[in-house]
């Protein structure tokens, strides 16, 4: 048991290191460098070389990698190398990152607070009454919503809620000093979009897994023991379905942190994913690297938690013979 946890932790750390190498290599092979961008097309080779030395990007790649990694370990995400004008050193990345990260986490938090209980209960309900009208409505609507791209969902929501009904603002730009009600209104539409996208998957997975478990002999046994339906689902079936459900939840949470750039763009919401895209556009490699590391770390941590939940919910793994 302890061994399993240590093993998973080790695998997680190893993955993170591999990922950091990949990110570093990936960002290094992109053509053009920051010095070129800062100084522009007309810069002389001498001034380029001088700036490169100053920025530390003339060192061999492996040295830069270890410098970057050791900075990362000590919490120093480095300094943005773009957009700060000729000859000046840009803003520290952590300063740029922090408010964006908070925005992203706030959105992800709100979405998961709504989406997880909603999708779990709808999925369970559908599994409890398979083939009924309720089940068909849930199955049909989730399937349709999964197949529709998220930008379309977002656009429809804007059309209906902002343009026709005028209930909500069409964009969710954060100035940082919104009060409660304004904040809710501003967040409502992106949240709704993401809730729809994320819950469909969780709901379908819950329904499928629980239904699969429901056809196993021990469920038939529970029926023949006279166990009430509700208890069969919640006590007998759900415990055996936790593994796949937790995994799909983890993947969706990770998506909420890293994959929501389209939704952020549509609603002009200043989140982390959008920051990374901006970084790519300005060739601000330290910023891209930092964002990529955060996204990967999020994935790895969430999957680790899901693995742990799977182990804890399975007595075979919890109490080996």
């Amino acid at each position: 048991m302890l061994q399993a946890i240590l093993h998973r932790t080790g695998v997680g750390v190893a993955t993170l290191i591999v990922v950091s190498v990949l990110i570093f290599v990936g960002t290094s092979v992109l053509p053009g460098d920051v010095a070129q961008i800062i100084l522009g097309q007309m810069a002389t080779p001498e001034s380029l070389a001088a700036l490169r030395t100053k920025l530390g990007i003339d060192q061999p790649a492996y040295i830069r990698y270890f410098m970057w990694l050791s900075d990362l370990m000590s919490g120093d995400l480095g300094v943005s190398k773009a957009g700060s004008g000729i000859g000046t050193i840009g803003t520290p990345i952590s300063e740029m990152l922090y408010p964006r990260l908070m925005n992203t986490l706030r959105m992800a938090g709100v979405v998961s607070l709504v989406a997880i209980p909603l999708s779990l209960s709808l999925g369970l309900l559908a599994a409890m009454y398979p083939g009924t009208r309720l089940d068909r409505i849930v199955t049909f609507s989730t399937l349709s919503l999964i197949s529709v791209p998220e930008f379309l969902v977002a656009t429809f929501l804007v059309l209906i809620l902002a343009v026709y009904l005028g209930w909500l603002p069409a964009i969710a730009y954060m100035s940082g000093n919104e009060t409660g009600w304004q904040l809710i209104k501003a967040l409502a539409m992106p949240t709704l979009t993401l809730v729809i996208v994320a819950s469909s998957q969780i709901m379908r997975m819950t329904r499928a897994t629980v239904l699969n478990v429901m056809s196993s002999p021990y469920i038939e046994m529970a029926i023949l023991k006279g166990v009430p339906r509700k208890r069969i689902i919640l006590r007998h079936a759900l415990f055996n379905a936790i593994g796949p459900i937790v995994n799909v939840i983890a993947l969706n949470l990770a998506y909420l942190v890293s994959g929501v750039v389209i939704v952020e763009t549509i609603f002009a919401y200043p989140g982390l994913a959008k920051l990374m895209i901006d970084g790519v556009q300005t060739r601000d490699m330290p910023l891209v690297q930092a964002c990529a590391m955060i996204f990967c770390a999020t994935y790895i941590v969430l999957i680790f938690i899901a693995d742990m939940a799977t182990i804890l919910s399975n007595p075979r793994l919890r109490h080996p013979k």
Partner: protein, 605 residues
């Protein structure tokens, strides 16, 4: 007084995809009196389980009650509202399923599952239920009853789980127990222990029971009345002794005829010597094999097989017997190369084979073919039978077009299947037919050695007997050598030329079938033979008195490195010797060996 349960003109139909109804149970009537055990017996498809489940007002998905009544103390349970049915299930009528391993929820503790029904129905509060469960564990002779409830299903053995299911059913003191093939999946040694436990508990609790099985020998031990079913019709109904001793119906007689006689010497067909050569077809020497990560000395983490020698002469059949967990299947996997042995050699025609299947040549692979236990899982459900049989023909024999089609037709004929089956999918076939296809697939490669791993264990008595007849014919026709693995001694006795008895991964006795099955025996062989139920009333009681039964039935097989692995179950064990030193191999003569510290004279006792 009226009967506890009256099944009255019961009909149950299956609804097919096109909406039409297919009769499964065709107007069956019988009664169950209080304190009486009624056996429902028949092949699969006879509707016995379906009838038994109707006592709980339940049908499997896809089936419907279409007529008749099932009255429990005069109340029809079929038309009962579902809430009332729920109250009745587990409380007044309790069900015991065939496979306890699948019927226990792996995520919940044993205690919770055993007491759940009694507590839910308000029969006991949790504490009383726990006490009741504990006393049932005592009665069922389960180990460590105080702490058993806190354990999970995967932490106890199969035989224990089967008895725990009895505890689960009995916990709320039901009036009627429905037992659905509760011992079919067990080893003989475990089976008699479980049977004994069921019988004494049923008597003690005074509850009535419906006992579903296809095994007449088991029925003879436990039932007061027997109901014989065939294809949903009642064939014969009467008191056990009368049905067994003077069966009046044709089908019952057929069923009796298919019961394999108890294992004894002199039953096997003598194989002719025409296919013989000097070198054995397949031989294993000094095999050490197991599972898990390799340690630095080259041995696996869990060693299953140790020092196994055996040779399969050309055209001969070697039966491998032993309880589950003794390493029978592991041995077949080593021979086929699916599990590379850590030490020792596998020789084909005297030539050493690579331990790992991946390093063997196509020609070598062709000569050793595997027939798996479960045809259901061994045959690809998305391939037609001609594709399944065609693949080895293309791969090994490079046949195609007409030649391939002709060979497929021949193969189907060899296993007695009609030609039109070539275009069908496995799911359209019955269990016995699928097993024949499984066999034909192995034969398609034109092998020299067939490894048959429990090939008839999942089949009914009559179907299984037919498959054995087929194997005997194939052996005569093709001269193929067989390694026949089974926990069913009677089958092995009727089919094998030689027998290897495995215990805890070691050979304890081997030799010609007639020698192994007649004294002198290894104590373990003796235990196995004496545990096979006989088709007569009263056998169970007699057997439980013997010293073998008292000493060694239903213990967990332990893998040990030192001494004799059978030490803790052996009635003849010598303290200080058997637990310390490996037993010597005693040569009884004519290739018959027994691995034991006791001498030949002492075995005969």
């Amino acid at each position: 007084m009226s009967a506890l349960l009256e099944v009255d003109q019961l009909t149950i139909d299956a609804r097919k995809d096109d909406g039409s109804l297919l009769p499964i149970v065709k107007g069956v009537s019988f009664n169950v009196q209080r304190g009486e055990v009624v056996a429902l017996i028949g092949e699969s498809g006879s509707g016995k389980t379906t009838i038994a489940l109707s006592a709980l007002g339940y049908t499997k998905p896809g089936l419907e009650f279409t007529g008749g009544e099932v009255r429990l103390e005069g109340r029809d349970v079929i038309t009962m509202p579902s809430e009332e049915k729920r109250q009745l299930r587990g409380e007044r009528v309790a069900y015991l399923a065939q496979s306890a391993a699948a019927t226990f929820n792996p995520a919940l503790t044993i205690g919770e599952q055993v007491t759940e029904s009694a507590v839910l129905h308000g029969h006991f509060n949790q504490e009383e239920a726990n006490q009741r469960a504990e006393s049932l564990y005592h009665d069922l002779e389960l180990p460590d009853p105080e702490r058993l409830g806190k354990r999970y299903p995967h932490q106890v053995s199969g035989g224990q789980l089967q008895r725990l299911m009895a505890a689960m059913a009995l916990c709320s003191k039901p009036d009627l127990l429905v037992l659905d093939e509760p011992t079919t999946a067990l080893d003989v040694t475990t089976q008699i222990e479980v049977l004994k436990a069921f019988k004494s508990v049923i008597k003690q609790e005074g509850s009535a029971a419906i006992y579903v099985t296809h095994d007449l020998s088991v029925v003879a031990q436990i039932a007061d009345h027997i109901v014989v079913l065939y294809a949903g019709d009642l064939q014969e109904h009467g008191i056990s002794e009368q049905v067994i001793n003077q069966p009046s119906h044709d089908y019952t007689r057929r069923l009796m005829a298919a019961v394999r006689p108890p294992p004894a010497a002199g039953q096997s067909d003598e194989t002719t010597g025409e296919h013989r050569r000097d070198v054995p077809a397949l031989e294993v020497k000094n095999i050490l094999a197991g599972y898990g990560r390799k340690q630095h000395d080259g041995t696996p983490a869990i060693t299953v097989l140790r020092d196994v020698h055996m040779a399969i002469e050309r055209g001969h059949t070697v039966g491998v017997i032993g309880e589950s967990g003794c390493g029978k299947s592991t041995l077949a996997r080593v021979m086929s190369g699916l599990l590379p042995a850590s030490k020792g050699d596998v020789l084909l025609d005297g030539e050493p084979l690579q331990p790992d299947l991946r390093n063997r040549s196509r020609n070598q692979l062709q000569k050793v073919q595997f027939v798996f236990q479960m045809a259901d899982t061994a045959l690809n459900p998305r391939q037609r039978i001609d594709q399944i049989l065609g693949r080895p023909l293309e791969f090994y024999l490079e046949l195609s077009g007409d030649a391939k089609r002709r060979r497929i037709a021949e193969l189907l004929q060899m296993v007695d299947l009609p030609q039109e089956f070539a275009g069908r999918y496995p799911e359209e076939l019955s269990g016995g037919q699928k097993q024949r296809v499984n066999l034909a697939r192995a034969l398609a490669a034109s092998p020299e050695v067939l490894l048959c791993d429990e090939v008839i264990s999942a089949l009914d008595t009559i179907v299984g007997a037919n498959v054995i007849e087929l194997l005997k014919r194939l052996r005569r026709q093709t001269g193929v050598s067989f390694v026949f693995i089974s926990h069913d001694l009677s089958t092995v006795a009727s089919f094998a030329d030689e027998i290897v008895v495995l215990y805890a991964g070691r050979v304890v006795e081997q030799g010609k079938t007639d020698h192994v099955l007649s004294p002198p025996y290894h104590p373990y062989t003796r235990l196995l033979i004496s545990s096979v139920p006989e088709l007569r009333v009263g056998w169970l009681e007699e057997t439980m008195q013997t010293q073998e039964a008292q000493a060694g039935i239903d213990r967990v097989v332990k893998l040990t490195e030192i001494g004799c692995p059978f030490f803790d179950r052996c009635p003849l064990a010598i303290e200080g010797t058997c637990d310390r030193e490996p037993p010597p191999i005693r040569d009884i003569g004519d290739g018959h060996t027994i691995n034991c510290h006791r001498s030949k004279e002492e075995f005969v006792r």
